[in-house]
Symmetry: C2
Subunit: 212 residues, 2 copies
Amino acid sequence: MKALKIPEATVVRLSLYSRHLRQLINDGTLTVSSGEIAAGVGVSSAQVRKDLAYFGEFGTRGVGYNVQELHGHIVRILGLNREWNVVIVGVGKLGSALAVYKGFASRGFNIVGLMDVSEQRIGLSLGKLVIEPLTILEQRIREKSVKIGIITVPGSAAQEVADMMTAAGVSSILNFSPRVLKVPKRVILRNVDLSVNMEVLSFYLSRFESRQ
Amino acid sequence: MKALKIPEATVVRLSLYSRHLRQLINDGTLTVSSGEIAAGVGVSSAQVRKDLAYFGEFGTRGVGYNVQELHGHIVRILGLNREWNVVIVGVGKLGSALAVYKGFASRGFNIVGLMDVSEQRIGLSLGKLVIEPLTILEQRIREKSVKIGIITVPGSAAQEVADMMTAAGVSSILNFSPRVLKVPKRVILRNVDLSVNMEVLSFYLSRFESRQ
C-alpha cells in the first residue's frame, strides 16, 4: 500500500467527503466551497483542497465545486462506481451484524458468502444467504471472483482463514480479529479495532475532566 | 474537540502504538526505537516522533524508548489508567456484538447498561447484563456515572437517544447510526461508519487493478 503514495488518511477523508456530498445532493445543493465541505466533515478547508489535489483540479476559483461532479469524481476515485463481491468468514455476533449492514450494499459491496465452522450456524439463513461450511470458501471465492474477504473469527483461527482466502485469490482483507496477520505483499490488509474509537473518546474525556 | 489542539489522527495512532507496545511487553522486549514502532504500526518514524512530541520528551537519543515506560505514558495520555462506564442503546446485531466485544473490558470500558425498545429483546440476558427498556436509560446513566454512550439504533431513533443521553449527563457519544447527530458543545461525538473501511480497500483495489 505504501508504494501507491496516497496517504491512507486522505482516502479515509475522501470517503467522508463522498458522504457529505451525497447529503448535499439529496438536499438539492448545486455548488459547494472547500470551506463548506470542511465544516461538514470537521477538517480544515486547506486539508480538503490538499486531499483533492492528489487527483487533479476539480473546483473553479471563486465559484467552488459542482456538487454532482465532485461526488462523481470521488466515487470513481474510491472505486465505488462498480460492484465488489465480498465473503465474511466467522458468522458470530459481529459477522452477523456485518452480513446485514445496510451501508455495504448501498455502496456496491455485495456479500456473496457467509462461512463458519460451527455446526449450529451452518445452514441458518441470514438476509438472502445461507451460512455455509468453511470448506466451501475457496470454491465460492473463485466462482464469484471475490476480491474482498472479511475475517470475524476468533484470533486463533484468523491466520488460517487469511491463508485460505489469499490462496483462493482474494486481494484484500478486512481483519476484525485481534491477531496480527501475515499476508502476501500483493494483498491489501486493513485491521479494524473497534476499541480504538473508544480510546479516542477517553483521550478527550480525560483531558476535559482534568481541566475542571 | 478542535480547541484541544491535538489532531484526532494523532490520538488514533497513539492507540495503535499502545497496542504494539503491549505486544512488545508480552514478548519481553525492553527498549524500542521510533523506527521499530513505526514499522510495527505502518507509519513513518518521523510521524511517531512527532506524535509523541505533543506530550513531552520520552526517549533517549541513540538508545530509544523504554517499552514499559512509554506504554505507561501512552496509557495515561489516552485516559486508559482508569475505568469508564458505558451504556449501549440498541441491542440489535451490532449492539449485541459490541456488548460482548472483549477488547472493551480489557481496556477499562465497562458496559453497565443495555437498553432497547423491543419487547422481544427486553429481559434477555447478554453477557452479565439483562436488556432493559429505554425508559430506564437516564436513571442508569446517573446512578452509574456513565460518561460514554454508544448508539446502535436505526437512524430514525438516533437523535432522540442522543438527546436522552446528553440530558442525563453523558459527555461523549459513539454513534454507529448513519444519522448526523446534533449534540451540545460540551459533548464529544464520534461517528463510526463501518463502510469507510471497505471504501479504503476498494480505493487500493481499483488502483491496483487499473495498473494490470
